[in-house]
């Protein structure tokens, strides 16, 4: 008997299908947007929730991690908005333009849209979808498009997010801080989708903060499409923090133009489950990208970084540096794939992932992959995992530094190697302060 094994739908998948049907008429956008949602939902429906049978999701089985699908969040009430006020404070007192989303919806009264510098436009995705914004029509779903069922689900159910454009040649001095807060009292699911287009020769810095403001088990599916134009200069930092038991799935899709510079950092200390997937596509020759990140985990936290750097154009340089510090029974996953297409000669790509295990029960999985189809390239990857160096610890202690402080210094040094790649000094300091606080909390 040949049994065609058809996956039976899980309760969560069934609930998501129902939620989609019910939400459809209320979701923003018509015509083309509806078609986009429909096609995406069909893709999701065919594949189901990402699970361990899908190679890219083998260590983060969402089907197992999401026993049920939470209802789609309603619009935030006053209490939720109040809870969201202090969110994003991890970045310290650096000057930013703050744009706030609560439970997946843009909140104008918590956002600062005044005095936009020349060339900068900021709007909400809900509005852009409803009004048929041409920028969104031109790019949505097309930036480094990935065949991924979490992204498909996001496209089907996206409600709101940021739409940002920096016109060619403009420099936006003030970093734009997108603060996403899951603040509903009851567990809910949220689907945010943002589009950021930095045109030719423009410069901007974008900081995303994601956190939960309650003890609810929210399910967050957030996606950002980012176009880095030719000769553009873009910094992007994503922070996922807070004690809330959120399941957070994030997809970053980036195309990088010729001679552009792109600096990305993912900092993760919070939530129960975090999946950061990054799809980078080098479209123009001579670009420079630094893709870095650090996760500090404890308890039973699980954080997964899955990265695909697709070199389609030649002469680009990419540096990937990811650090994980693992305490308790936490688990980190790093999957990094570098693809060098036949035309991408003179690619210089180097990927490094290091895990520091502070506990015997912590675990790390690393899967680096190189797919190289060009012959004149320099590519490499390195991965390490291990405990703190006893010799170094002894050296510090021999100078009078107590054990816990010695460990903290070494952990800070370890994380610092990635954080130093962030160009903004204030943000670098803020993250290192947070690392110190994390270590203090750990020491008790």
């Amino acid at each position: 008997m040949t049994a065609e094994v058809r996956a039976i739908k899980t309760p969560a998948e069934l609930a998501l299908a129902e939620a989609y049907t019910a939400a459809k008429p209320k979701l923003p956008g018509d015509g083309k947007v509806i078609a986009l949602r429909e096609a995406a939902f069909r893709r999701f429906d065919a594949q189901g929730l990402p699970n361990r049978r899908v190679e890219e999701w083998k260590y983060t089985d969402l089907r197992a991690l999401m026993r049920e699908a939470k209802p789609i969040a309603g619009l935030p009430d006053a209490a939720a908005k109040a809870r969201a006020k202090s969110a994003g404070s991890l970045i310290g007192d650096i000057d930013v333009r703050r744009i706030v989303f609560v439970d997946g919806a843009f909140v104008p009264e918590l956002s600062d849209l005044k005095n936009l510098s020349p060339g900068l436009t900021i709007g909400s995705m809900a509005q852009a979808l409803a009004s048929g914004d041409p920028l969104v029509a031109a790019h949505l779903g097309k930036v480094a498009a990935a065949d991924d069922s979490a992204v498909a689900l996001n496209t089907a159910l996206m409600r709101d997010g940021a739409v940002i454009r920096v016109a060619a040649g403009s420099t936006v001095e003030l970093p734009i801080h997108l603060v996403f807060v899951a603040a509903a009292e009851q567990s809910a699911s949220m689907f945010t989708r943002s589009l950021v287009v930095i045109e030719k020769g423009a410069r901007a810095m974008l900081v995303e903060s994601h956190e939960g403001a309650t003890a609810a088990e929210h399910q967050v599916n957030t996606a950002l499409e980012l176009v880095v134009g030719d000769d553009a200069y873009v910094d992007h930092i994503k922070i996922t923090s807070g004690k809330s038991p959120v399941v957070h799935v994030s997809s970053l899709m980036v195309t990088i133009g010729a001679r552009a510079r792109f600096n990305d950092f993912s900092y993760t200390t919070g939530n129960a489950v975090v999946r950061n997937q990054l799809f980078l596509q080098f479209d123009g020759a001579g670009a420079l990208a630094g893709i870095r990140g650090a996760s500090l985990l404890n308890g039973r936290q699980h954080a997964d970084v899955t990265l695909v750097a697709d070199h389609k154009a030649g002469g680009c340089q990419s540096r990937e540096v990811f650090k994980a510090v693992l305490d308790g029974q936490s688990r980190s996953v790093f999957q990094g794939k570098i693809i060098v297409r036949p035309k991408a000669q003179k690619t210089d790509a180097r990927m490094l992932s290091n895990a520091l295990l502070l506990s015997d029960e912590a675990e790390t999985d690393t899967k680096p992959e190189l797919e190289i189809f060009a012959d004149d390239v320099q590519c490499g990857h390195g991965a390490t995992s291990g405990a703190l160096d006893d010799g170094l610890k002894f050296y510090l202690m021999a100078r009078g530094i107590p054990e816990s402080e010695a460990e903290s210094l070494l952990v800070q040094a370890f994380v610092g190697e990635a954080v130093e790649g962030i160009e903004h000094a204030g943000l670098r300091d803020a993250l290192m302060v947070n690392v110190a606080e994390w270590l203090k909390a750990r020491a008790g």
């Binding site: 010799g391 510090l396 202690m397 021999a398 100078r399 040094a413």
Partner: protein, 254 residues
Amino acid sequence: MPLLEIKNLHVSVEGRQILNGLDLTVNKGEVHAIMGPNGSGKSTLAHVMAGKPGYEATQGQILLDGEEVLTTQPDERAAKGLFLAFQYPMEIPGVATITFLRTAMNAQRKKRGQPEFTVPEFQKRLNEVAGKLEIDREMLRRGVNVGFSGGEKKRNEILQMALLEPKLCVLDETDSGLDIDALKIVSEGVNRLRSPERAMVVITHYQRLLSHIVPDVVHVLSRGRIVRTGGKELALELEAKGYAQYQDEAALAS
């Protein structure tokens, strides 16, 4: 009461006995030199005094100011005034030398119940000491010993010693890797710390260092125990004759 009293010390590393019945008494104000062939256990002695993990004292005592230190953590020993200048100082990338020094200094002061130094106070002390040892300010901003030459690492050890002002300084081959001028600077740094309240144990292979840092007592360590003790002239004798006779004696004794 002697500042340091080591009695019948037996130490094994990875199941292998390295020190077997070592006795050593050092009084305040004294400088003792320890010489001995490669592998005789000099660094092992230094490490076990400082509390390096993996060095197990199976018998005997190490008393600092009359108190047993073998049961205490390395940081407690340091706070009590023990300092080891390492034969091979380690590199710690990502921990700036200056942060390391301030953390160490304040941790010790805190443990001794003294007020911690403020940043300007610390800076002032550091500038004084670094200046005398001709250590460049730029080097202090780098990671601990990162990119330092062999000699610079040794100088950095003496900088730490001078800042921390320990009661008992143990110098493990601080002279190796130093050029002639650096040897002079480092020796002067060490000599400045000589005082009636402080003692030093200087491990070296060469008489040359001992002509700068003149010892009160010279010991010969061979196969894990002290086999001869004499005055500073013993170092000259060793330089002339080598260790052959002591290795035979130690072999007979063990």
